[in-house]
Amino acid sequence: MPDSARGRDKTGQQAPRRKPVVLITGAAGALAQRVIENLLPRYEIVAVDFREQVYHCSGVQSYCIDINKRRFEDLFRKHDIAGVIHMGRVMSSEEPRNRRYNSNVLGTAKLFKLCEKYKVNRVIILSTFHVYGANAYNPAMLDESAPLKAAELTMDLIDSVELENLAHIYLWRCPTLNVTILRPCNIVGPGIRNTIANLLSSRVCPVLTGFSPMMQFIHVDDMAEAITLAYRKNRKGIYNVATPDWVGFQDAVNACGCLRMPIPSIPPFLARQLLALLPGNPLPPYLANYFKYPVVLDHRHFQQTFGFEPKYSLKEIFRYYRSVKH
């Protein structure tokens, strides 16, 4: 149903024109909050997070609900939701594997069913570059058709791959949902608390001796802009979102002013054991391969389709991480 047709009352009379409603999951996150700010002038926002209820300015209705709960459907009954931006993927560092699976796979399946039932016409899924898997034999510039090998590496990333598979199914099975899947590179910047952002924020950063894989970083503001663009320009499909700039991980660590803590990298099981012993688990052992082998994304498809140009350079990103240490 087009947005313009969503403003009629029960008698069929033209009601006062309302902004289309967008449901945003994972709304408590720093990235989601920036996306909400970007969308607010044109859309009404329903913000949902299972962790906490977040308070925004007017125009945002905020809820603390788990997607898997029955009450979640009430949001679709209550609001005339035109589009969904699903950023509520639980990250590998946040919950144990089984809870992640329930939330990321079963929760997303439920979300898609509701979108279909309530005739939502735009769905954005925020995935991750982790789905490609970090493999020594990966070519550089992986495009969107590259196989998703993460599940072959570790059971801990199966939920990420299955979430994507679900999204692929709905992309083709329900064309009216207009599903767009975004696979961003490392998202960093103020407020971001994923593994790589935490490592760059820390004073001492574990590195695997002899390995400094190529990495790409995108600033949280640029990523928010990319999601906003993807929502507003309706182009369904799968897109890598990355910046056309690359740096070795250990160079990035140096540039952020971190002290490197070398961890023996061979044999691999020893490296994983040592990483597991680190207090606070700053580098989860199942992500060790991402700090050994490159996963370099081809950014061109997204750039050409949406006209996306990142504003923040690597130097600006690293300057921010240096500044937070003083």
Binding site: N138, P139, A140, D245, W246, G248, L314, K315
Partner: protein
Amino acid sequence: MKTRTWLKKRLVSKALDKQLDAIEKPVGSMGYDPWGFNRDTNKIAAAIFSPLFRHYFRVDTTGIERVPATGPVLLVANHSGQLPIDGVLIGYSIATRPVNPRLPRAMVERFFGTVPFLGNLLNQMGGVLGDPVNCASMLDQGEAVIVFPEGVRGSGKPWGKRYQLQHFGEGFVHLAMKYKAPIIPIGVVGCEETIPSLTSLGPLARVLGLPYVPVCFPAVLPAKVRIHFGEPLYFADDDADENEVVARTQTVKNAIEALLREGLIARKSIFF
């Protein structure tokens, strides 16, 4: 990063710095490209290899002008000597030729990526993981690409099989056809004698996850290296079937064999 800056300052002469800067190579703001090439590491490696190239291996080249100044080209050579010294010497000779220097990208064995330090170092010097997708990307952006179709079959062969070309994979011919890239056959004479190997310890190699563990003299010998660049070969992108591609691969192999034969006849001594 600091070590790299320090090494560059100490080792790279202004002339070499200027010469390599003149070769256009798109990199990001931190000096890297997506395949891990790093301008400064490349310059440091060139500075270190310069005396080895001139005084240790005393490399002579013939026909180097046959490598085109621009555009995609495949530099296809015989592989020998346990370590990828031949690739580095071919690359250095083209990067420092007086007219139209280029920085070729060498396709390196996949297992190097799993070796600490060495994998990153080779990438930073300009090596690229030997994957058809990478090779296609390189040709698509007009690079000169060094390919060893024998792979580890060539580099790991023992002394008894020296200068006997091993099986050639056909992938490079497909790519040459698709990207309309000429193939320059190259015969490298001398690298076989830099690290002569008696045999490979197969079981130990399997345990270590390496393609071979050579039984050899534990040093790189100062054999004189001669690199012969042949006439370019052109293959049309004509949807040829596999038999035709195999025949074209054999044409390239024959050309390299001829260059090796001529080079071996011309050389008077292994070390001089």
